[in-house]
C-alpha cells in the first residue's frame, strides 16, 4: 500500500537517460572538436613521456636527483635516487615515466585552470558562491563517473585519463589559491592601494607572493590527487604504473598488482616530499643543503 503510494506521489526522474542523451548529443555534434582535443593531449603527454624516456634511465635518475637536491635538500635527493633505482630493478621504469608524464601534464593543466579561478573567486563573493558547490561535486563524485563519458567522447588512451584526472585533481588548486589570497593581511593590500598600485601590481607584488605557501600546498595536493588517478587512468588505457595494477586485478595476479602498487608509492613519496619542500619555503631562494625537515628552520635562523 505504502509502496504504491510512494510510486504514485514521487515521480521517478530518468536522470541516467538524460545524461546519456546529452553525451550522445555532444558526441554527434562536436566530434571534430574532441578529435582535436584528443590529439592535442596525446601530443603533450606523448612528448613529455618522450623527454623523460629519452636519456638512459640512470642519467634521468641523476637529473631527477639533482632537481630534488636543489628544491628539497639532500635527504629527499637520496630517497629519489634510491627509489628510482628500485623502480628500475622492478622493471617498471618505462611505466613510471609514463605515469610521471601524465601526472605532470595533468598538474600543469589543473593549475593553469585552477589558480586563475581561485584568484577570481577570492575577489568576488558571487563567483565564490557559484564555485564552491561545483568544487564539492567535482571532488566527491567517484572518478569513474568522469571516465565513462570522456572515454565515450575521446576513445581509449591518455586523453580521457588526463581530463578525468584534471577534473578530479583541480579543486584543491582553486580552494587553496582562494584561501591563500583571502588570508593576505588587509593592511598590506590596503597599503598597496594607498601607494597607488594597480590591481595587477597588487596581485603580483603583494597577494600572490604572500599566498605562495598556501598555493604551493595546493600544488602538492593536486599532484597527489593526480597520482591517485593513475590506476583509473590505467583502466582507460593510458598506460603507466596503473596498467600492471589493473592487469593484476583482472588476472587475479597478486604479484603483478603489488609490484605496480609499490612503483606508485615510490613516485608518490618522491613527488610529495619535493613539492612539500616548495610549500615550506618563505618565498626566498630555494635552499640547497637544508636538513630534511625544513619546517620552522627559517624562523630559528632569523633569531640567531
Amino acid at each position: 500500500m505504502l509502496a504504491l503510494l510512494q510510486s504514485e506521489l514521487i515521480p521517478s526522474i530518468p536522470l541516467a537517460e538524460w545524461t546519456e542523451s546529452a553525451v550522445d548529443w555532444v558526441t554527434d555534434n562536436f566530434d571534430g572538436v574532441f578529435d582535436v582535443l584528443d590529439s592535442a593531449i596525446d601530443l603533450v603527454v606523448g612528448s613529455l613521456e618522450h623527454i623523460l624516456l629519452a636519456p638512459p634511465a640512470l642519467v634521468m635518475v641523476a637529473i631527477l636527483g639533482v632537481i630534488a637536491l636543489l628544491l628539497a635538500g639532500w635527504r629527499v635527493a637520496l630517497f629519489t635516487v634510491l627509489g628510482l633505482v628500485f623502480v628500475i630493478s622492478l622493471g617498471l621504469w618505462e611505466a613510471a615515466m609514463q605515469t610521471l608524464a601524465l601526472v605532470l601534464a595533468a598538474t600543469i593543466v589543473a593549475l593553469a585552470i585552477g589558480i586563475p579561478i581561485g584568484i577570481i573567486a577570492a575577489k568576488s563573493e558571487a563567483v565564490e558562491a557559484v564555485i564552491r558547490p561545483i568544487l564539492d561535486i567535482a571532488q566527491t563524485m567517484p572518478a569513474f563517473v568522469y571516465l565513462v563519458p570522456t572515454v565515450v567522447l575521446l576513445g581509449i588512451g591518455a586523453g580521457p585519463a588526463l581530463i578525468a584526472t584534471v577534473v578530479f585533481a583541480m579543486p584543491p588548486a582553486v580552494r587553496l589559491t582562494m584561501l591563500g589570497i583571502q588570508q593576505v593581511p588587509k593592511d598590506t593590500v590596503e597599503a598597496a592601494h594607498a601607494f597607488g598600485a594597480t590591481p595587477w601590481q597588487t596581485l603580483f607584488k603583494v597577494e600572490l607572493p604572500l599566498s605562495l605557501k598556501t598555493i604551493m600546498a595546493g600544488v602538492n595536493q593536486v599532484i597527489m590527487l593526480s597520482l591517485s588517478m593513475v590506476v583509473i587512468a590505467g583502466l582507460a588505457g593510458a598506460g603507466g604504473l596503473g596498467e600492471p595494477v589493473v592487469a593484476g586485478l583482472s588476472q587475479l595476479d597478486v604479484g603483478v598488482s603489488f609490484v605496480g602498487g609499490v612503483g606508485i608509492v615510490v613516485i608518490a613519496i618522491m613527488l610529495d616530499r619535493i613539492t612539500r619542500a616548495l610549500a615550506r619555503q618563505d618565498g626566498g631562494a630555494p635552499r640547497f643543503f637544508s636538513r630534511g625537515k625544513g619546517a620552522g628552520t627559517d624562523a630559528t635562523e632569523g633569531k640567531a
Binding site: 597599503a191 618563505d282 624562523a299
Partner: protein, 440 residues
C-alpha cells in the same frame, strides 16, 4: 627638542598659509541606502536611530576641515568614532558618500581611478597601525615599494631607500627580513616607506598604537624630528589623547562620525566645546598638579642689556633662536627681545639693545601651576615664558612644546629633565587613554 621643531614649523606656517588638504562636508555611509540615511540624519535622528531604520551605518557625518602646509592635524576619537574612515576618505581608500575632497587644489572626488592612482603615487604617503609590510621582502625592498609601484629603476630606488633608512635610524639593517624586526622597528620601516616617495601629504592611521608605551614615545620623538626636517602635511589618527595633544598643531575630536571640536591643544584643554570633550580631556588635566618648574628648561643662551645688538644678533643666529631673554648684570630679567627687532637695531648701527627689549614679557615662578602658565601661551603665541625667582633672577624658560608635553604626560616633561620631580609623578595616573587602554 619638541619645542624647537614646533617653533620651526610655526615659522614656516607664517610664511606660507597654503591649504594643502580641504575636506568639505564629507560623509561616509556604509550600507546600501546611503543618501536616505543622510537625509534621516539631517532631519534630526541620531546615528543609532538611522542605523536601526535603514540598516546603514553613518561612518562620517559632514566633516569639514582644512590642513595647511607643514601642519600636523590630529584626528582623535574612540574606536568606532569614524576617525580612520575619515582618514581614508581623504585618499578615497573609502569612497565618500557625499562631500568633496581637495588635495593641493586638485579635486580628488572627481578623479578617475587612473588619476587617483597617479595622485596616490605622487602626493600621498600612508602609515598603518599594523604596518602593512611585506614579510617576504627585506627592509630595503619594503621601503622602496612605493617607488617600485611608480616604475622607478632599481638602482635609483635603492639609493632613495637607503637615504630614508638612515633617516629613520635603521642604518645597516636594510638587508634584514621584516620577520626579524620588532614592532617599533617595523613601524620605522613603515614610516620610511611613506617618506621614500617624497610626497607632500602623509596620512597616518594610529601608527604608534600597536607599540608599547616606551617605544611609542621614542617613535613620537623620531616622527617629530623627521617632520622637522621634511615638513610634510600630516593627518594623524590616534585614540591616545596624550599623543594627540603632544603631536598636533590642531586636533579634531570625533564622536559618532562627527567632529565635535576642532582646535589647538590649548584650546581644547581650556575650552572644551561640550560635555563630551570635557569628559574626554578631564583625566588629562595635569595642569592642576604640575608646576612650572616641571617643564622648564635651562636658558642656554641669554643676552645682557649692556651688550650691543650686533653681538646679540650673532649669538641668536648661532643658537638658532628667534627670541632671547635679556638680563641685567645681576641676572635679573629685563625682558625679551626678538631677532627681527635686534636685526633692525643692528642695521641702524645702534649701540644699545634697550629699544628691542619687550619688558612686558610674561614671567612665572617655579611654583606657578601649569594651569596658569597655559593662558600665557594662548595670549602670547609661541614666545617662551620666563621662570624667575623672588628677586626676578632668571631660572629657566618654558617653551610651548614642553608645556603641552607636560600637560599631557606623567613623566619626562623635557629632555634635559634634571629637576627633581619627586612627589609630583607619584600622584599622577600614568598614560591616559580614552579607550580604556585596551589597545595593547
Amino acid at each position: 627638542m619638541i619645542g624647537e621643531q614646533r617653533s620651526g614649523i610655526t615659522e614656516a606656517k607664517k610664511q606660507d598659509r597654503e591649504q594643502i588638504i580641504r575636506v568639505e562636508n564629507c560623509s561616509v555611509v556604509f550600507g546600501r541606502r546611503g543618501q536616505q540615511a543622510l537625509q534621516m540624519r539631517r532631519s534630526g535622528k541620531n546615528k543609532a536611530e538611522v542605523e536601526k531604520e535603514t540598516g546603514s551605518t553613518i561612518g562620517v557625518y559632514e566633516a569639514d576641515f582644512e590642513v595647511e602646509r607643514g601642519e600636523i592635524f590630529v584626528i582623535i576619537g574612540l574606536s568606532g568614532s569614524g576617525k580612520s574612515t575619515l582618514l581614508r576618505a581623504i585618499n578615497r581608500l573609502i569612497e565618500p558618500t557625499e562631500g568633496e575632497v581637495y588635495l593641493g587644489g586638485e579635486h580628488v572626488s572627481g578623479m578617475s581611478s587612473k588619476q587617483l592612482r597617479e595622485l596616490r603615487r605622487k602626493k600621498i604617503g600612508m602609515v598603518f597601525q599594523h604596518f602593512g609590510l611585506l614579510p617576504n621582502r627585506t627592509v630595503l625592498d619594503n621601503i622602496s615599494f612605493g617607488l617600485e609601484i611608480q616604475g622607478v629603476p632599481k638602482e635609483q630606488r635603492r639609493k632613495s631607500a637607503e637615504e630614508t633608512l638612515d633617516m629613520v635610524g635603521l642604518q645597516g639593517q636594510g638587508e634584514k627580513l621584516i620577520t626579524e624586526l620588532s614592532g617599533g622597528m617595523k613601524q620605522r620601516v613603515g614610516l620610511a616607506r611613506a617618506l621614500a616617495t617624497e610626497q607632500e601629504i602623509l596620512l597616518m592611521d594610529e601608527p604608534f598604537s600597536a607599540l608599547d608605551p616606551l617605544i611609542r614615545r621614542d617613535m613620537q620623538n623620531l616622527f617629530l624630528s623627521i617632520q622637522g626636517e621634511v615638513k610634510r602635511t600630516v593627518v594623524f589618527v590616534t585614540h591616545d589623547l596624550d599623543e594627540a595633544l603632544t603631536l598636533g598643531h590642531r586636533v579634531a575630536i570625533m564622536k559618532d562620525g562627527e567632529i565635535v571640536q576642532l582646535g589647538t591643544p590649548e584650546n581644547i584643554l581650556r575650552e572644551p566645546a561640550n560635555e563630551y570633550v570635557e569628559r574626554f580631556v578631564e583625566d588629562v588635566d595635569y595642569a592642576k598638579v604640575r608646576q612650572a618648574e616641571s617643564v622648564m628648561v635651562e636658558a642656554k643662551e641669554v643676552a645682557y642689556i649692556n651688550e650691543g645688538p650686533t653681538v646679540v644678533l650673532r649669538r641668536m643666529r648661532q643658537a638658532g633662536m628667534s627670541h632671547m631673554f635679556v638680563l641685567d648684570s645681576e641676572r635679573r630679567l629685563v625682558g625679551l627681545c626678538e631677532a627681527e627687532e635686534v636685526a633692525r637695531l643692528a642695521e641702524r648701527d645702534e649701540r644699545e639693545l634697550r629699544d628691542a627689549v619687550d619688558d612686558g614679557t610674561p614671567k612665572v615662578q617655579r611654583r606657578t601651576p601649569l594651569r596658569e602658565v597655559l593662558p600665557l601661551f594662548v595670549e602670547e603665541g609661541d614666545t617662551p615664558v620666563a621662570v624667575v625667582d623672588e628677586d626676578e633672577r632668571l631660572e629657566g624658560v618654558i617653551v610651548r612644546g614642553a608645556l603641552i608635553a607636560g600637560l599631557t604626560t606623567s613623566a619626562e616633561p623635557n629632555d634635559e629633565g634634571d629637576e627633581d620631580f619627586s612627589g609630583v609623578g607619584a600622584r599622577e595616573t600614568s598614560g591616559v587613554r580614552p579607550d580604556g587602554g585596551g589597545g595593547e
